[in-house]
């Protein structure tokens, strides 16, 4: 056919018939099944690109403070001290084990710890298009570990990101430069983002430490230097076929350790990357086939050096290197079996290989396998009634085959008014660390022969076969759309059983043959894991999105939750979720390019698993920005202040005191 237009005599472009009669490339959906919120089988909080920017988030984890029921702690963990804790409905240690996190359909749930290392993901905040947080289990759709919630991060398609973007930030304890370029070569479009970030993390010293019954004076050592490169290419093979390739790298040095620990604080180097290839084909309207493969590599180099003042040993070193690799292949087909139904089904196979001599006491990588089969049906029983039913069958090396069903009914009882009743069951597979931990240190005993010259100090040992953790979650949800307000209310009951918890277990007495001849076994400080924990979480959540005017928006979230549990093995399940927490975000565009936003967060008293009791706190963040033009380029200058009231509160642990008022300036340019 002729080109889209033909030149006329005077050079003016003329529109030809092909503009109307030609083929148009079919745009494919991004999530498993694209549904409006009032048809979805679960409560969803959507955080879009604009909200991320307006919120003044410095790191990805910050963003989740805007989700009702989500608990975020800045640098929480005692291993991986630069990592944030993000948990939904509590029951979490520092590693977000009971939540699934996907970036463009790729799981970033760590094979070793079974959690997410938030600042180590090869993902630039500026590449994110939107984040969908599913509040509640959805293993039927996303497999095991989609336990208390799922975070679905969707990055921008390369066709949405053409041209060049530069951003520089500088302020209290932080600096960053980001450069991105998007271009096109024929039917191939691409974008490349590179960034460098230095972050001083927490203040070195705790300010006014006498709170929370603690007098500890030092925060964690948690500086980080993040080097990031992401690349995405989308190739339009035909009007109905698209091939996507992604590559991402996140590396650099991270501080690790605590001032008072058996090992000196140190720098370790991180090397993470992934490659993803996806082919999607539109077989007809609403009939889509996709095939995806990814490989991810999570590596760190770290050597432990004993601190004699704390450990009693001088000059001992241990190899704390870690390499976790994942290979995952998935096929998915979405179609409409009838006018009133849509079905998405598919399957996947996965191989994880983890090398961690420190935590697994093996010099070789440990392999584990996973395979899945899933199907989800959306049935519009009648225009006002939508039924979602689905399930996943999953087989893994640790617990065999698990089946995870889900059903939800959405009733649009009036236009814009929806009631949802749902029940979902999910499992969490024990992580490799929980299944195979053997965390020990070989030390000299100082005994002269015939007593052993060496001993193994065992701290964590997987002594028993574990079952998966289980959750059955029931909910009643309400979604209301009024002229300027959208409301999302939810009453829930999560019944969690077989939670894996620690118990003290001197394995040297209970398990034989743990050490070779000539090595003494010392297990008095060992913890093992067992399926002991049970808890019921009941509560209420609300989320409002109020358009106060064409230029003003108010978002408010509230969560109330109570956990009842016997706190088996001394695990503080009952205190691990703040009873009440709320979040607020107001944004306003003043005109002539000025805009401003104000965020408020209030979190109740919490004692997270592995953390310490921290008081309730309030925090205010603000952002003002001015957009302007430099020639043809769009520019924006912004000032962001976190913790406006300079409150010195704690999150998660007594050595994680939020930095005081922190401000930085950001300048961005798009041309």
């Amino acid at each position: 056919m002729a080109g889209l237009c033909a030149g006329a005599a005077d050079g003016q472009e003329l529109l030809a018939e092909n503009a109307y009669l030609g083929e148009v490339p079919v745009v494919l959906t991004v999530s498993r099944l694209a549904q409006p919120q009032d048809e979805a089988p679960a409560a969803v909080t959507v955080i879009d690109r604009q909200m991320i920017k307006d919120s003044g988030a410095w790191e990805l984890a910050d963003v989740f403070r805007l989700v009702p029921g989500m608990y975020v702690a800045y640098h929480a963990s005692s291993a991986y001290t630069t990592n944030s804790a993000v948990s939904y409905h509590g029951l979490s240690d520092a590693y977000s084990r009971r939540m699934q996190v996907l970036v463009d359909g790729r799981s970033v749930y760590s094979p070793l710890f079974g959690g997410v290392l938030w600042s180590d993901i090869p993902l630039a905040l500026d590449d994110i298009e939107r984040i969908e947080v599913i509040r509640g289990p959805n293993s039927a759709m996303y497999g095991a570990n989609s336990f208390l919630g799922i975070i679905n991060i969707i990055t921008r398609h390369s066709t949405e990101e053409q041209g060049t973007f530069l951003s520089v930030s500088k302020g209290t304890g932080r600096s960053e430069g980001v450069a991105r370029h998007g271009g096109r070569i024929g039917d191939l479009s691409y974008r490349v983002t590179a960034s460098l970030r230095n972050d001083d993390g927490l203040d070195e010293r705790v300010v006014n430490p006498i709170q929370n019954n603690n007098t500890w004076g030092y925060n964690k050592t948690d500086d980080k230097k993040i080097r990031l490169l992401t690349f995405r290419a989308d190739y339009r093979a035909s009007p109905v076929d698209e091939v996507e390739f992604q590559f991402g790298y996140n590396g650099g040095d991270r501080q690790e350790g605590l001032v008072s620990d058996a090992f000196y604080p140190r720098w370790k180097s991180v090397d993470n990357h992934f490659e993803l290839l996806r082919w999607r084909s539109q077989l007809g309207v609403g009939n889509e086939l996709s095939l995806q493969f990814y490989h991810s590599y999570e590596g760190s180099k770290d050597t432990l050096l004993s601190n004699p003042a704390e450990s009693g040993y001088a000059g001992l070193t241990y190899n704390a290197d870690m390499i976790a690799q994942r290979y995952d292949l998935e096929a998915q087909h979405t179609f409409s079996p009838s006018a009133a139904t849509r079905l998405v089904w598919g399957g996947s196979a996965r191989l994880d290989r983890v090398y961690s001599p420190l935590y697994l006491n093996r010099q070789q990588a440990v392999a584990s396998h996973l395979s899945r089969l899933f199907a989800n049906l959306e049935w519009r029983v009648e225009p006002r009634l939508t039924l979602n039913v689905g399930g996943m069958a999953e087989n893994n090396d640790f617990t065999g085959t698990d089946v995870m069903p889900r059903a939800a009914l959405n009733w649009h009882f009036l236009p814009g008014q929806t009631l949802r009743v749902g029940r979902s069951s999910a499992t969490r597979t024990p992580s490799l660390l929980e299944s195979k931990a053997d965390y020990r240190f070989r030390v000299p005993t100082g005994f002269p022969a015939p007593l052993p010259a060496q001993a193994d100090l065992i701290y964590r040992y997987a002594a028993a076969t574990l079952k998966p953790e289980r959750i059955v979650s029931s909910e009643i949800g309400y979604l209301g759309e009024f002229s300027s307000v959208k409301a999302d209310l939810r009453l829930f009951r999560d019944e969690v059983s077989d939670m894996i918890g620690f118990y003290r277990n001197n394995v040297c007495n209970t398990v034989g043959g743990l050490t070779p001849a000539g090595v003494l076994c010392l297990g008095g400080n060992n913890f093992s894991m067992r399926n002991s924990g049970n808890a019921v979480i009941k509560g209420f959540e609300a989320q409002f999105d109020w358009r106060l005017g064409p230029d003003t928006r108010l978002l408010y979230g509230f969560s109330h939750a109570k956990v009842s549990s016997n706190d088996e093995d001394g695990t503080p399940y009952t205190a691990s979720v703040p009873t009440n927490s709320q979040n607020l975000m107001v944004t306003h565009r003043f005109g002539s390019g000025w805009s401003g936003s104000l965020m408020g967060y209030q979190v109740g008293e919490t004692k997270a698993i592995g953390g310490s009791l921290v008081n309730s706190y309030r925090r205010w963040d603000g952002r003002v920005a001015k957009q302007f033009k430099i020639g043809r380029s769009n520019a924006e200058a912004a000032l962001i202040v976190q913790n406006l009231s300079n409150e010195r509160s704690w999150e998660y642990d007594f050595d994680n005191q939020l930095p005081g008022r922190a401000a930085w300036a950001n300048l961005r340019l798009e041309y």
Partner: protein
Amino acid sequence: MTHRFGHWARWRLPGLVARLGLLLAVLAHAPAVRALDNITLVLSEEGQAYTEVADKIRQVVGQKNGPKVETLSLQAFLGRQGEMAKGGSRVVVAVGLAAAQAAAALDSRVPVLSVLVPRATFETLARERGRQGDSRGFSAIYLDQPFARQLQLIRFALPDRSRVGVLAGAVAAEQLPLLQAAGKGSRLKINVEKVSREDDVIPSLRQLLRDSDVLLAVPDPLVYNRNTIQGLLLTTYRYQIPVVGFSLSYVRAGALVAVYSVPPQIGQQVGEMLLGLAGDRNPALPPPQYPKYFSVSVNYQVARSMGIEVDNEAVLYDKVRRAGEQEP
């Protein structure tokens, strides 16, 4: 003919006899009248769309004992341009822009009807050839739909949306006065964002979508092309703002709804127009007109994903058609 039939009927002759008489009269009469001799269809190129138009015209015109219909490729036409003014009376139907441009160069005594050509393109062509005032000899059946029809579609498909966004490059910008005129008096507010570079398409769209609750796609090579279309549809999808497209392909690709005419519908209208001219030795073409036959398509997957309830296609089509009939 219908006139003559009415005339006979008024004489209250027995029906059968009357009809037979009419038939005989027509059969006997037809060869005697000197009518249009030739219809020459010129196709811009080979391709389904062009043959569909040609086939439909033949089918409609060929039903009667009418003029000779001849189909020429553009190549063949260029070689025989000189003959067009000879060999009896003739109408040239140019199918597509390339054919229209070639046929516009013909001797002005040969009437040329351009089809499968958008209105703006035809008007430019007529202006360039100095034939704007000469619709009897140089006319068209446009490929695009009147804006009034597109706005009616928005009204019926999306009754609670009133802010219509339009992204316009230089080509679409010329259409804006027509669009504004069509929007006048309706409750629809038309927001326009102009674009001058391809790289600005998505940023300008984002700007536009802040103040719009539906995007009306107006063809423009800068805005809607193979490089931009995917990002464009994705962006509107993310803003949950439906797109009103201008072809079935757009609906398949992710637009919510479109009103458009397919080649056989255009062919039908051309055929009917030619039938009306067949009795004239020196036919005068009617003024340029919009498509009479059209279709409405909805992408229900998109509607569902966006949580929009849309009538079924037949109901929507009916509403749009009736609203069009009521207009002056």
